[in-house]
């Protein structure tokens, strides 16, 4: 059961991969709530959609690999450029000339691709808990992924073979790291459930697609001309605050630091995040009625 059902929905076909999108509300401008790592799907925006759709037009979609989209086992659709082009395809399919992409975690790369390659389609960009190679990640996360695991503790679970052997346990561990705030049992349960809607095979295919390298990210950021808001929690155990700082500096954007928040504040501090998004969107010059 949802607090807000979509007003429209459909599929786009991207090189034979079907992606499902939904449209809520009809205000201006359009917000494009992007997918993120395919371990979850578009319902992770559930605390944003009902509120934002009362004021703006909101488009969500499932990326390849989860939700109501196809689950390709080939890395190509998961490549950052393919992900950027998928976002573009959803904008086209929904007749959206310009939008404000809102991205979580690794989707920051795809939002930057869009900003760099189709600047005329992007009114402004909101990044939440960005995870990208613009600055080093947490050192504790650096565990061998490709070798058979010798430990089953902590980030050692982030391992090709462990995923195949103990997928649900990995999901429970990973989301315990995403939600470092107390009283997160419900968001953890939700996220583990969404993770179980896909498979280790999908995550492994996704894992074989490269991330954007640091030099490219710098170029894209330097070329960025639109207003940017970066939101990041001080207790983000997935991606450190330094990445958000670097991203805000490189794009000339604003940084809002959420004291005590983890990696997914949109689920644990939804009111705060919703108000920040609204305030940012309403501050954009082009949103004034024509």
């Amino acid at each position: 059961m949802r607090a807000r059902e979509p007003d429209g929905e459909g599929y786009v076909d991207r090189d034979g991969v079907k992606l499902h999108y939904e449209v809520f509300g009809d205000g201006e401008p359009t917000l494009l709530l992007m997918p993120t790592w395919t371990i979850v799907h578009a319902r992770f925006w559930k605390a944003q959609v009902p509120y934002l759709a009362r004021r703006f037009r909101v488009v969500t979609y499932d990326g390849p690999g989860n939700g109501r989209s196809d689950r390709p086992l080939d890395p190509a659709p998961y490549h950052y450029e393919a992900q950027g082009r998928s976002a573009l395809a959803v904008l086209d399919a929904t007749g959206t000339e310009r939008a404000v992409p809102v991205s979580l975690s690794m989707a920051s790369q795809w939002a930057l691709w869009l900003m760099a390659h189709r600047p005329e389609r992007v009114l402004g960009s909101v990044f939440i808990g960005p995870s990208l190679a613009i600055a080093p990640g947490h050192t504790g996360r650096q565990q061998p992924f490709e070798e058979p695991y010798t430990s089953t503790e902590g980030w050692a679970k982030y391992n090709r073979y462990y995923w195949q052997d103990h997928y649900q346990d990995f999901l429970e561990f990973f989301f315990s790291q995403c939600f470092t705030e107390p009283h997160s049992t419900k968001p953890i349960e939700d996220a583990v459930g969404w993770g179980l809607e896909t498979s280790p095979a999908v995550l492994l295919a996704e894992n074989d697609a490269p991330w954007v390298d640091q030099a490219t990210l710098r170029d894209w950021c330097a070329a960025s001309r639109c207003p940017v808001l970066v939101i990041h929690g001080t207790k983000d155990a997935i991606s450190p605050l330094r990445r958000a700082k670097r991203l805000a500096e490189a794009t000339g954007g604003a940084l809002t630091v959420l004291e005590g928040a983890g990696h997914i504040p949109l689920a644990r501090d939804p009111v705060k995040v919703n108000l920040l998004i609204r305030e940012f969107v309403e501050s954009l010059p082009a949103t004034e009625p024509a």
């Binding site: 107390p182 009283h183 419900k186 349960e189």
Partner: protein, 307 residues
């Protein structure tokens, strides 16, 4: 009585921060026992959110106050035995009649001629007593998971003695004065686990245990020894005297006071029963939006009644 106006901005919080701070606070004193009240908002009618058992205090209404105060004048007070109210050292000070008299004193002190009463659990006893005996002060009563004795059988596991030393300390055997003295916190955690039978209640459980720790086993024992309704006849007689509109809300999974109690209260008062499927004992904390909207709708349905 002293009245202190709280500055709303930049106020140092001696507790959790609040979404809404009182517009006015004060105390009433009766027989040397001071009871602290707070007022939020100023639009008529007035809602009096009653205390419940003194294992908790007025912050039990934290998910109601910010919403309701945008629409109404909202009064809360800490029941004697917890919060910023005194913890008198005799059982007689915790008689049901004392809580009812405190509620009236708060209405008087705040210049409130009449109010909609909102009770939770034990607070519903005081709400129906007020509605029955002072109908001119009561516009309506919303009763959440009422803890009214004799109306329906309690779960068998609750039938342990409160006063005797028990062999067991499992489950409801913890509801025992000797156990409270020895393991107060453990009792609080057990009770909260029963009060919040819904999944994902870690925050509400933590709140309840924290509020319970603001009083003591000794004070809580006294609240159990104060005078309460003595028979089914007495309880029914009070309910049958209630003339104001009544809305009862009760959860099907209430582990503390079963749903049948709420159904009986609705029937005996001629009130409306709303059943919360899967709901536990504290819907105001676990189903706050639903409770708030039900209360708003209830208050609006009272229209200009007698005003």
């Amino acid at each position: 009585m002293t009245t202190v106006r709280a500055a709303q901005a930049g106020r140092a919080a001696p507790e959790q921060t609040r979404a809404r701070y009182p517009d006015e606070e004060g105390q009433v004193e009766r027989d040397g026992v001071r009871v602290s009240w707070a007022r939020y908002g100023d639009r008529e009618p007035t809602l009096l959110l009653l205390p419940a058992w003194s294992i908790i205090h007025s912050r039990q209404w934290k998910a109601q106050v910010p919403y309701l105060a945008r629409h109404y004048r909202v009064l809360t007070f800490d029941g004697r035995g917890n919060g910023r109210s005194d913890r008198p050292p005799t059982a007689a000070a915790y008689d049901d009649d004392e809580y009812v008299a405190d509620a009236l004193a708060v209405l008087d002190a705040t210049g409130t001629r009449e109010a909609v009463l909102v009770g939770l659990s034990r607070g519903c006893r005081w709400a129906v007593e007020l509605a029955a005996t002072r109908p001119e002060r009561v516009l309506g009563a919303m009763l959440l998971d009422p803890a009214l004795p004799f109306l329906a059988p309690l779960p068998r596991e609750r039938a342990n003695s409160f006063d005797d030393e028990l062999d067991s300390s499992e489950g409801w055997a913890k509801f025992n004065r000797h156990y409270w003295r020895r393991h107060y916190r453990d009792f609080l955690e057990f009770f909260a686990s029963q009060a919040f039978s819904e999944t994902h209640s870690t925050k509400q459980t933590e709140d309840m245990v924290g509020w319970g720790l603001e009083t003591s086993a000794e004070a809580l024992i006294l609240t159990q020894l104060g005078a309460q309704p003595a028979s089914r006849e007495e309880m029914e007689a009070v309910l049958r005297r209630v003339r104001c509109p009544v809305l009862v809300v009760h959860g099907t999974e209430d582990q503390v006071w079963p749903h049948a109690v709420g159904a009986a209260v609705a029937e005996l008062t001629g009130g409306t029963l709303v059943t919360v499927e899967g709901g536990g004992h504290c819907p105001q904390a676990r189903h706050p939006v639903r409770v708030n909207l039900l209360l708003r709708e209830f208050v609006e349905s009272l229209g200009g009644r007698r005003r």
